[in-house]
């Protein structure tokens, strides 16, 4: 029988994380406990196996392709993403325009959306701007999961269905929204901080009032939550 503390000491020794006092304690444990010695031997063999993982050479062209891609930027301090934050009016207009553009480009008639591209960058990720002027939401889904919290709202704005994600993701998640045969994917939580992210989607065409907006949230390779939002007050 090995105590948890001794297991921890054995791992820590192999990880190079022991101080002299802990090292002395572990020596005493190893002397007295054959099971502890056996565990350390097993872990040593595991470390040996892991050391066999070969360090791969990065592909040729990766370096150049990154430099080419950043060549399109003016510089880190004036990144595209930051420009979305320059003012509330611009923010709202940009997101609205971005949504329309995304809808027009990606979700227009004839487009195939079942496995549509990730348009979160195109639609825009903004913070601090509520869906002011749209009145109260038609429907609202609140999420309170370990991975993500916040709400998804549906609105009608001059006949246009607006789906607003207002979420804080603690780890990378993907939100898939589907309405009237159109599907979009939003990637959230990939930034180092866990600040709220607000994204707006404007499905193209006339709102299909009879059809709900289906929302699915994925994280860690599995479905975390599935829900639906009404697309109209009568729907």
């Amino acid at each position: 029988m090995i105590e948890d503390r001794h297991i921890e000491l054995i791992h820590a020794e192999l990880d190079g994380e022991l101080n002299s006092e802990q090292r002395a304690e572990l020596s005493r444990v190893l002397l007295a406990n054959p099971e502890a010695r056996s565990l350390r031997d097993e872990l040593n063999r595991l470390f040996g196996a892991l050391a066999q993982l070969e360090d791969a050479e990065p592909p040729r062209g990766l370096h150049a392709s990154v430099l080419d891609a950043i060549g399109a930027h003016k510089g880190p301090a004036r990144s595209v993403r930051r420009s979305w934050y320059t003012g509330p009016a611009f923010r709202y207009a940009a997101v609205f325009l971005g949504g329309l553009l995304a809808s027009a480009i990606l979700l227009g008639p004839g487009a195939r959306q079942a496995a549509g591209p990730d348009i979160s960058e195109l639609v825009g990720t903004i913070g601090g701007q509520h869906a002011a002027g749209r009145g109260s939401p038609i429907d609202r889904v609140e999420l309170d999961l370990a991975q993500v919290s916040g709400a998804v709202n549906s609105y009608q704005l001059d006949g246009q269905l607006v789906v607003e994600l207002d979420l804080t993701a603690n780890e990378p998640i993907e939100v898939v929204a589907t309405h009237g045969g159109q599907t979009v994917h939003f990637s959230l939580g990939s930034q180092p901080d866990t600040s709220p992210e607000r994204v707006i989607w404007l499905p193209t065409g006339k709102p299909q009032t009879e059809a709900a907006v289906q929302i699915e949230v994925y994280g860690g390779g599995r479905l975390l939550h599935r829900d639906s939002l009404r697309a109209s007050r009568g729907g």
């Binding site: 791992h11 592909p59 993403r81 390779g221």
Partner: protein, 181 residues
């Protein structure tokens, strides 16, 4: 010659010095690519992830908080992008089950390349959260403190996750005949 520190290079990048970013890229290209490769196994996916990581790093350099170590920051982005890549892949593809080796045997009977492949295959059987800590520790050489900063988890949780991951990996490798009981 004295190597310029990461923080200084970041400062120069933010002042518009592209050469400074080139140095950072050279410094981190290999670990970031390898971390993504071990997380996803597929070299093309790893390349895409690595490229995305560097673009995000460049785009967000001005938001980097120098009170954190730069490598923690970039590894965190790499981990998150890799997890995101896995999440996206699992949604569109069945879970990737590695075909068993035709001639499994103790690791001293096979070449390094094959051993590496088999260890990678065992790694892919772990949940992403367990694979992540193994990659951070055994591939990137992170300390418990680094991992805590990268994953934004208490050190205790990181250790517990790492020990569990090793136990699971040990079982898979024993099962595959890669480790002696």
């Amino acid at each position: 010659m004295v190597e310029v520190g990461d923080a200084e290079l970041v400062r120069r990048c933010c002042d518009g010095d592209r050469a400074a970013f080139d140095i950072l890229l050279r410094r981190y290209e290999r670990p970031v690519y390898n971390a993504a490769l071990r997380m996803l196994r597929n070299p093309e996916d790893a390349r895409d992830i690595a490229q995305t990581v560097f673009l995000k790093v460049y785009e967000h350099l001005s938001e980097y908080d120098p009170k954190y170590r730069f490598y923690s920051w970039i590894y965190r982005i790499a981990v998150n992008e890799s997890l995101h890549g896995l999440s996206r892949r699992h949604r569109v593809e069945p879970i990737d089950e590695e075909e068993p080796d035709e001639h499994p045997g103790p690791d001293d009977e096979v070449g390094n390349e094959q051993t590496s492949r088999r260890v990678q295959s065992a790694l892919m059987r772990l949940k992403p959260e367990h694979r992540t800590v193994v990659v951070l520790k055994h591939l990137l050489g992170c300390s418990y403190e680094d991992m805590s900063e990268i994953l934004q988890l208490p050190e205790k949780t990181v250790k517990s996750r790492l020990f569990t991951a090793r136990q699971l990996l040990k079982e898979v490798l024993l099962d595959q005949g890669m480790l002696r009981p």
